[in-house]
């Protein structure tokens, strides 16, 4: 035995005698992971989270979360002698006086932007491929919870330096809290420790931002990963891939190297952004002062859609019986996001109700093969995009020579008119793609080569698909719509009633498909068509 083998053997023995880990490790190291780039989006999220933890811990060594008023005396000349909170002053100190401080601040913020961006794209991948179906509905709900927590965490994070831009965002958050019926002003006074801005807010959100939310997120991420691990990852349809297997590469050595390497790549790209692209230059914004404001004030992009909704809201406020309810704040700020996130969380069950499909699914859908779901996804993306665009309407106006009033009206109408349009267009596109697939399976791939036949006719040569490719295009299921009859054979009305009718309608819409080529058609082809 070589020295290396002896050491390795000794270590393994030490651990196994205390934990009995040998059996589990063997199973783990040979665990199979399917390989597709779209499966790496969740990894980007996870690695960004680790980067946030590491860079964030670095920042906590110097950040002072106190709103105590100090007079700045430091390296940045234009702020010398200006009164500001200790939090802002310490953030300036980190940026200018700590070597690598500005780099770490920027890496932290870029990592947060990439974290949220990758989370959204990952969520879209899971949605459009139907990976949330049984048995993964719980994981989907955990994911929605992580998305919500991520948005809150990011908002609190960039508000910590207490600069003019983020302070304005806090003012707006306070207005939303204050607008809550009955308890609003009480909640606001409790959260801020008195009138806005008070002296307690930064230290309170500091505890939430570095301890509470990361702790909850860590627990949820662990649960999320454990479920993926235990339930095994899904896979795209293809030759050799069924509902009962997983085809891919083993954890050791391939996946370890690729996934581990990818962590360093994500970290490297984030560090690159932190090095070459300035982000959140708080020294230009100045310390927060409720009497000051800058044109073109926006929150970070993952809150931008909320800002856009608030901007587009009609000015409705009701005054009755001595109380005021600000619908213009509550509807875009709390009610609509609440509805959207609740629907999002329960979508797997809504889809189950619509289709009646309660079986386990481990093979993914190609988005075109579920036109209804893809169209619903496109619809919600369109809504979010219009809201996001409206959130930046003043910047669009300045840079593209437009009027904010026009952009606002476009958004107000667009928020309602464009999503259904996107739904219809996307569904039609999916159905056309299905038709194209069908043609490809039946008649082969168009090669673009023209051949003249002896009797003068020109034909285009079609290359028949390989059996693997053809299988991949036809492996999907095409479920029939639910049959919910109005009354049974004895004339007794269906107790489901309207709910049943609605369900039948939705099921019919959701199962709209272009028929796959049937076995009969395939046989006909082979027999003599060509």
């Amino acid at each position: 035995m070589s020295a290396r083998e002896r050491v390795a053997g000794g270590t393994a023995n030490f651990i196994d005698e205390r934990t009995g880990a040998a059996k589990w490790m063997k199973k783990t190291l040979t665990k199979v992971f399917p390989d597709h780039w779209s499966f790496m989006l969740g990894e980007i999220v996870m690695y960004s989270f680790v980067i946030l933890l590491l860079s964030g811990t670095f920042l906590t060594f110097w950040f002072d979360p106190s709103m105590r008023e100090v007079e700045y005396e430091g390296s940045y000349e234009p702020l010398n002698g200006i009164k500001m909170s200790a939090a802002y002053a310490s953030a300036l100190h980190i940026s200018f006086d700590i070597r690598g401080g500005l780099l770490m601040r920027q890496i932290h913020h870029w990592a947060a932007l990439i974290f949220m961006a990758a989370m959204v794209v990952h969520m879209m991948r899971v949605f459009f491929t139907g990976a949330f179906r049984k048995p993964r509905e719980l994981n989907w709900i955990i994911g929605v919870a992580l998305l919500t927590l991520g948005i809150v965490e990011g908002f609190l994070g960039y508000s910590l330096p207490d600069d003019l831009l983020s302070g304005t965002g806090i003012r707006i958050a306070e207005a939303i809290i204050q607008a809550i019926p009955v308890v609003g002003s009480y909640l606001s006074y409790f959260i801020f420790g008195g009138a806005f801005p008070g002296e307690m807010f930064i230290q309170r959100i500091y505890a939430v931002h570095i301890l509470l939310v990361p702790g909850i997120m860590l627990a949820l991420i662990t649960a999320h990963l454990m479920l993926v691990w235990y339930q095994k990852h899904t896979q795209y349809p293809g030759p050799g891939r069924t509902e009962k297997n997983v085809v891919g590469y083993p954890l050791m050595p391939v996946y370890m190297a690729k996934a581990g390497g990818f962590f360093f790549i994500v970290f490297g790209v984030t560090a690159f952004l932190g090095a070459v692209a300035q982000i959140n230059p708080i020294w230009i914004y100045g310390p927060y002062n409720p009497g000051q404001i800058g044109a073109g004030s926006q929150p970070d992009w993952y809150m931008g859609w909320l800002d856009g909704l608030v901007r587009a809201a009609p000015p409705i406020e009701t005054h009755a019986f001595g109380v005021t309810i600000s619908w213009n704040i509550l509807i875009p700020g709390l009610i609509i996001p609440g509805i959207i996130f609740t629907l999002m969380a329960f979508y797997p069950f809504i889809e189950q109700w619509m289709t009646g499909d309660k079986r386990e699914h481990h093979v993914l859908d190609r988005p075109r093969n579920n036109p209804n779901r893809t169209a619903i996804g496109a619809m919600s993306l369109t809504f979010t995009m219009v809201a996001l665009i409206n959130g930046g309407n003043d910047l669009l106006a300045t840079h593209f020579d437009m009027s904010i009033n026009q952009i606002m009206w476009f958004s107000r109408i667009g928020l309602i008119a464009l999503p259904p349009l996107a739904f219809v267009i996307t569904k039609r596109i999916c159905l056309s793609l299905q038709r194209a697939d069908r043609e490809k399976v039946l008649h082969g791939r168009e090669t673009g080569r023209l051949v003249m036949l002896p009797h003068g006719e020109f034909i285009e040569v079609h290359e028949p698909l390989s059996p693997e490719k053809a299988y991949a295009l036809t492996a999907h299921e095409q479920l029939p719509p639910l049959e919910i009859s109005g009354a049974d054979s004895n004339g007794v009305a269906n107790p489901q009633g309207i709910k049943g009718k609605l369900r039948a309608r939705m099921s019919k819409a959701s199962q709209e498909q272009i028929q796959k080529p049937t076995a009969k058609e395939m046989l006909e082809l082979e027999d003599g068509h060509h």
Partner: protein, 338 residues
Amino acid sequence: MSEINMESNKEIAPLEDPGLPEHVHRKTDVDPLAAKKAERQVSILFSLSAVGTILFVYSYVWIPDDTLIFLPIFGTTNAHQLLLGLGLAMALFFIGMGAVHWAKTLMPDHEVVDYRKEQRSNNEDREAFVATVKDGAGQAGLGRRPLIKRTLALALGLVGVSPILLLRDLGPLPENDLNETNWKAGTRLVTDPGDRPIRPSDLEVGGVAQVQPEFPAGKVRHLDDIAQDSVLLIRIRPEEFNLDAERLSWTYEGIIAFSKICSHMGCAVALYEQTTKHLLCPCHQSTFDVTRAAKVIFGPAARPLPQLAITVDSEGYLVAKAPFNEAVGPSFWGRDSQ
């Protein structure tokens, strides 16, 4: 009836699963020279990472942290920071690239198949579980001992009250705070910043002034005060006003004062368009018409900005005639309706 009817709609399976495709060998699997080349490439990548770390250490130790350098696209930037960051990025990135290239070219790439079992436990296990739970519950005997059950519920319900009560001292109760500001009858208007009192002649037609209430000597102005007291002073020609008699009496020779705190969500509304006499809040684009007492003409704000009644005192400086007649800032449940 509402389940999928699999019988009459047999799945259409036009094609047999051809099974996993043939394994295609990579160049590095068949050609030892190609394998050596890949090995060299991986080593170069790992070495680049080392170079990155060296660059990082060099920048940290030997480049003074106020060194500036001019680069295209960047403009003038701090060389120390840039090289520190690029060094770190290189160090991390190339470890990753090396590992991935190694896995792609040299590690085995045979696809492996693993098998799934149904997530659902088998029926025996399920029955055993149900039996265990029933047994355990029976042993606890809650069903037979209602007094225990009820008092347990009482205790658990009450203990939750303590932590909630502990949060009471998070902050004071708002009471009438939201309805009050530091503006009283006779309070002088002073410039912000500068704290200089203002005469009507100081303000030209078409001009604005950022204003705060004068604080007595010794009293310090805090951000809390600014968040409710900030006022915008605007001067237009008196004939341009479109106000009722009462509101007109709150102006002075074409000078009108509004709370700067937006009635929508509290941002500072200070963007004044001299030509249109409109105030624009940059947060959500609510637009207010100064000639009509800051009436909302566009955007999500539902209420006009509160107007401060002003006049001049015996020395000719502008003073408030009375406190605001309504609460400033965003709305809240108990706000006096208008």
